[in-house]
């Protein structure tokens, strides 16, 4: 086991995560989680989504409170701009997932972080969503993330933390691999 002389605190409870790993190796069914969101149409391209309950550790769980998210499109799309666009939520999802990963991996590797900033961009040719060109995909052509990290560690160690956070990231996996999506309509 690693023994460290310095105490690092990035505010991540790595001990609890390691205990969870230990527990899930005995009861893998407890590791089955289901995440949920409910989206309500408001008007035009404006909608708001609610997140509160999820399932995990073998039972229904709940966030401390209900979170809501307005989504819309900006005025360049002739919309009212009541919220971020859905694709921007995707960028938020990836950036925050990788950032959480950076903090956790750094904690696990005993690296003290001072600041972490992720700048994320997704390039998109909107001829795709407008149905103008079959050769253009709807989604991002590519996504670029730049991390600016201040930490008590060498450049190589920081790069390794960032690489590991991608390797362990759920959103990174969701975006870089195909996922089966089933959409139904209740009659």
């Amino acid at each position: 086991m690693n023994t460290y002389t310095k105490i690092v605190n990035n505010g991540v409870n790595v001990g609890a995560l390691m205990e969870a790993r230990e527990a899930f190796s005995v009861t893998p069914e407890a590791a089955q989680f289901t995440w949920r969101a409910t989206c309500h149409w408001v008007k035009g391209t404006h909608s708001y989504s609610e997140i509160e309950g999820y399932y995990g550790l073998g039972e229904a769980q709940s966030h401390k409170k209900r979170f809501t998210f307005d989504a819309d499109h900006p005025e360049t799309f002739a919309a009212d701009d009541h919220g971020a666009t859905p694709v921007e939520y995707v960028l938020v999802g990836l950036a925050s997932c990788l950032t959480a990963g950076v903090a956790s991996v750094a904690q696990h590797r005993n690296i003290q972080l001072h600041s972490v900033k992720a700048m994320i961009e997704g390039d998109m040719d909107i001829q795709g969503v407008l149905g103008m060109d079959k050769g253009v995909r709807n989604g991002f052509e590519s996504i670029n993330v730049v991390f600016e990290i201040k930490a008590d560690a060498s450049n190589e160690e920081i790069e390794a933390v960032v690489a590991q956070s991608q390797k362990r990231s759920a959103v990174y996996d969701i975006l870089s691999n195909p996922t089966n999506i089933v959409v139904e309509t209740m009659s």
Binding site: P28, E141, E156, E159, A160, D173, L175, S176, N177, P178
Partner: protein, 429 residues
């Protein structure tokens, strides 16, 4: 399934060893030294996997000087070369002769049961019982193919490394090689050189130069003690045992085989083959990161070696340190491949191997079908395994790595036999 297997006609021997390859023979050597009666059951011939489950051009990844078994080592004139398959078959065959290994060839084990305090070993040549059992049947019995890959077999030519012999067996046209460990890289290399366009799908991998600072990388692994690192010394042994085999190849030119070299030969490098939709293969967008991870890991390995050299004052006697070029990743590697377009004619699954325990009717497997063991001591009294990756040491699955493991296991096995013998004496008294 509830039929109780019976002992009728079963012959008794203290130890049965399943598998007559380097691992089974190595422990046979130590059991003979300890005067423990034993028998090796071999489904085919000595070194069977090396004879029948390898492609034609394959050479060992380990240099000749590293080919050693208990009391036996390479004696030829090319210590820095890498054995061809006929050479390794001879090498192991000669060892079997030299130690007069008690081996019964042509005997496939069909089932093993725990019966009373013994194991009942049923084979194509009759039954045996034994007090102790050593599973030395290898870690690479069955090629692993992803689920979606099995469905592709209906519409494409798909083969595994066990079926692959040489490029001449392949149709003209493109070949998708899936997997970037030693097997995938070597096949991609020779198939591309045969004039067929290769697309190589790359997931997580372990990059290694053949030579570093003038010595074979495996020489450094030995010298620095990395090869001998024990399974109970690493932080996460489960993960360590799942690390893919390093990107190495044995050749007289001692060339490094890596993604940069393959790309320069015209091989198309793409991300992990992650699924098929509408007859289109989809490759993961994670290629830059898996290459980065491998480059960083390689950098840490070379730094460890540099530090060892520094600490031992060898800096002036050997080549200067250097670092290989980072793996070049094309700005936007392709994410899909239409499998109906004719661009590729063949898919080769170099996606790993797993051991086959379908004959093992003792509840010692975990939910993934792998043996539950502590450094080769299986979770059932008197049962042992040899030759699995990082079983007791990092070198466990290498030919030179099996000797130390076999010695340790023979010691535990001998103690076990002694203790059960003593228990029987006590209960009789």
């Amino acid at each position: 399934m509830n039929q109780t297997p019976c002992f009728r006609r079963a012959r008794y021997v203290s130890t049965i060893i399943i598998g007559g390859g380097q691992a089974g023979l190595a422990i046979s050597y130590y059991l003979s030294q300890r005067a423990i009666d034993h028998l090796i059951l071999e489904r085919g011939e000595v070194a069977n996997s090396w004879r029948h489950e390898r492609w034609d051009s394959l050479r060992l990844l380990t240099p000749n000087w590293q080919s050693r078994l208990p009391g036996y080592c390479y004696q030829g004139i090319k210590p820095d070369d890498y054995m061809t398959m006929p050479e390794i078959i001879d090498f192991i065959g000669l060892f079997a002769q030299q130690i007069s290994a008690p081996i019964q060839c042509g005997t496939r084990v069909t089932e093993v049961h725990r019966v009373d305090q013994n194991y009942l070993v049923q084979t194509t040549q009759g039954d045996w019982t034994c007090s102790t059992l050593v599973i030395a049947s290898g870690a690479f019995n069955t090629p692993v193919v992803p689920d979606f890959g099995r469905q592709l077999a209906e519409t494409m030519t798909t083969i595994t490394p066990h079926q692959y012999k040489s490029p001449t067996q392949l149709a003209d046209g493109g070949v998708l090689v899936v997997g970037a460990s030693a097997t995938g890289l070597q096949l991609a290399d020779e198939i591309q050189q045969s004039g067929r366009q290769v697309i190589l799908a790359v997931g997580e991998h372990v990059r290694m130069p053949r030579y570093y600072r003038g010595r074979d990388i495996l020489w450094w692994m030995d010298m620095t003690g990395l090869s001998d690192q024990r399974y109970d010394e690493v932080d996460d042994i489960t993960r360590a045992r799942q690390v893919p085999s390093p990107q190495l190849a044995g050749s007289s030119e001692r060339n490094t085989l890596d993604l940069n070299r393959l790309a320069s030969q015209g091989v198309q490098i793409v991300g992990r083959f992650s699924g098929v939709r509408d007859h289109t293969a989809q490759f993961a967008g994670s290629l830059p990161n898996v290459c980065k991870l491998a480059d960083l890991k390689l950098g840490r390995l070379l730094s460890t070696i540099d530090q060892w050299i520094e600490a031992h004052g060898l800096g002036t006697e050997i080549d200067e340190p250097d670092r290989p070029e980072p793996t070049g990743v094309d700005g936007s590697p392709r994410l899909d491949l239409n499998l109906a377009s004719g661009e590729i004619k063949t898919i080769i699954w170099a996606t790993g191997f797993r051991p086959d325990y379908s004959w093992l009717k003792v509840p010692v497997l975990d939910r993934k079908g792998m043996l539950r063991h502590d450094g080769g001591i299986v979770n059932s009294p008197g049962m042992y395994v040899l030759g699995l990756p990082f079983m007791r040491r990092r070198k466990s699955s290498f030919i030179h790595g099996v000797t130390d493991d076999a010695y340790d296991i023979s010691q535990h096995l001998a103690n076990y036999l002694n203790s059960t013998y003593r228990r029987k004496c006590v209960s009789v008294a």
